[in-house]
């Protein structure tokens, strides 16, 4: 097989690699976009909560209750602040749960995309190897001869 045949096989391999690289780039872009959108959504939820006066930090959740308990221990004579009503506490816990779920989903999606990228990179290497093998096979296989005699 001549250099032209090797070039053809390499060109075919390069086309495959280009296609895979395009897919990889697309997936990377999707990972970035998904992360940004998730981030914005998460903070939008927090913003809406704050704007509607339901700041979890100011609510009677664990974080708010702990300093109050410490203060009470330091000054037993001082009256302990009254506990928040049960409906406010449950609303705050729901927001915390939702945030945790969003973060978990985001992390899961990123992991999945990362796995896909790794898989594509492995496929890319495999395609490269295949193109090399095809080029070697084409080189080894010679076309059958024809004969030119007196016409």
């Amino acid at each position: 097989m001549g250099p032209l045949d090797r070039d053809t096989a390499k060109r075919r391999g390069r086309h495959r690699l280009d296609a895979m690289r395009r897919r990889t780039t697309l997936l990377r872009e999707r990972v970035v976009v998904t992360a940004i959108v998730s981030f914005v959504l998460l903070w939008a939820v927090v913003f809406v909560q704050m704007a509607t006066g339901n700041d979890p930090a100011l609510g009677p959740g664990k974080a708010a209750r702990r300093p109050a308990a410490k203060a009470a221990a330091r000054n037993p004579e001082r009256p302990t602040p009254q506990a928040a009503p049960p409906e406010v506490e449950s609303e705050s816990e729901a927001v915390e749960t939702e945030t945790a779920e969003t973060e978990a989903a985001e992390s899961e999606a990123a992991e999945s995309e990362q796995f896909e990228v790794e898989r594509l990179e492995a496929e890319e290497a495999e395609a490269m190897e295949l193109a090399e093998i095809e080029a070697e096979e084409a080189e080894a296989e010679e076309l059958e001869a024809v004969t030119s005699g007196q016409s």
């Binding site: 053809t8 084409a138 005699g149 007196q150």
Partner: protein, 309 residues
């Protein structure tokens, strides 16, 4: 990927078509289609078939004759061969070659004893007024114009022309070869090189092997299609245009490489008719000459083969 191959009798010899391609491209079907077209072209252009279009043209008393595109291409090729070789390759010597004894396809007839060649070797020369120069074609009206009585001989140029035509139909395949009785067209999208063996004019092992990816190879010689003429003198089908007699130039076989099988055929005949001295200069893309003493001269290419895309 597999190569479909078909071998069949046509043009008074053996034709081979090889097409390499994936099964999805149906190379076998393409080879069969090319075979059918070549057989149809043979029926159309053979001078040995009285009913062929070429025979009707050669008998036609009109100066301008309507013709099929294939016959128009043949007539145009006859003129082109004359122009390229300054009249040395003359496809209008039909009457002369018939007079010399070549009236049928000669299939199955024994060859003449080539050892009995004339001692003198003289390069051929063109006729002062070659009839080829009076051929003109009209590709709008599909007509051929020539003085009535001129006979066009398809034997000299049609095989190469038809190998090119068949090759053009197979150009989309990764590799193909069309061998019309020794006039070979090779090509394909993969640009893969194929060995081309050059036959020994005296029946021995191949004298040379070329590797070709795209282009034509043709061989002309005087040891086949030869016969005993008047008085038992050896005769063959390559005529000296100046005398109208078989040419003995000192070259018994010439092989030419060229961008097309048609051009290779013309260059091979031109080299043979020019003799050992000028012969190599008629092979710009390379070739092989076998001289009367049996020596083999390989001619290196002076110009690369550039085929039409």
């Amino acid at each position: 990927m597999s190569e479909a191959r078909r071998t069949f009798e046509c043009f008074g010899g053996v034709v081979t078509i090889a097409v390499l391609g994936p099964a999805s491209m149906e190379p076998g079907r393409a080879a069969a289609s090319a075979e059918a077209k070549l057989l149809a072209a043979h029926r159309q252009l053979s001078r040995f078939l009285p009913g062929s279009e070429l025979s009707r043209l050669n008998r036609d008393p009109r100066a301008r004759v309507p013709a099929s595109p294939l016959l128009v291409e043949l007539a145009s090729a006859a003129r082109e061969a004359g122009e390229l070789t300054a009249g040395l390759v003359d496809a209008t010597l039909l009457r002369e070659i018939e007079a010399a004894g070549y009236r049928d396809s000669m299939q199955g007839r024994p060859e003449a004893d080539q050892a009995a060649q004339p001692a003198a070797s003289i390069p051929a020369a063109p006729r002062s007024a070659g009839a080829w120069a009076e051929i003109s074609v009209d590709r709008q009206a599909w007509t051929i114009e020539r003085p009535p009585g001129i006979g066009i001989d398809s034997g000299g140029i049609a095989k190469g022309l038809l190998a090119d035509e068949a090759g053009a139909a197979l150009a989309g395949f990764p590799a193909y070869a069309v061998d019309c009785c020794g006039d070979v067209r090779i090509g394909g999208t993969a640009g893969r090189r194929r060995p081309v063996l050059i036959e020994d004019p005296f029946g021995g092992e191949p004298i040379h092997t070329f590797q070709m990816g795209d282009g034509g190879v043709a061989t002309s010689g005087i040891t086949r299609r030869s016969w005993k003429g008047a008085g038992g003198a050896p005769a063959h089908h390559l005529l000296d245009p100046a005398t109208g007699e078989p040419a003995f130039t000192g070259v018994v076989q010439a092989t030419a490489l060229a961008p097309s099988a048609f051009l290779a055929d013309v260059h091979a005949k031109w080299a043979l008719l020019s003799g050992p001295e000028l012969g190599p200069s008629r092979l710009p893309h390379g070739g092989v000459l076998v001289l009367a003493d049996g020596s083999v001269e390989t001619v290196a290419a002076r110009a690369p083969i550039e085929t039409a895309a």
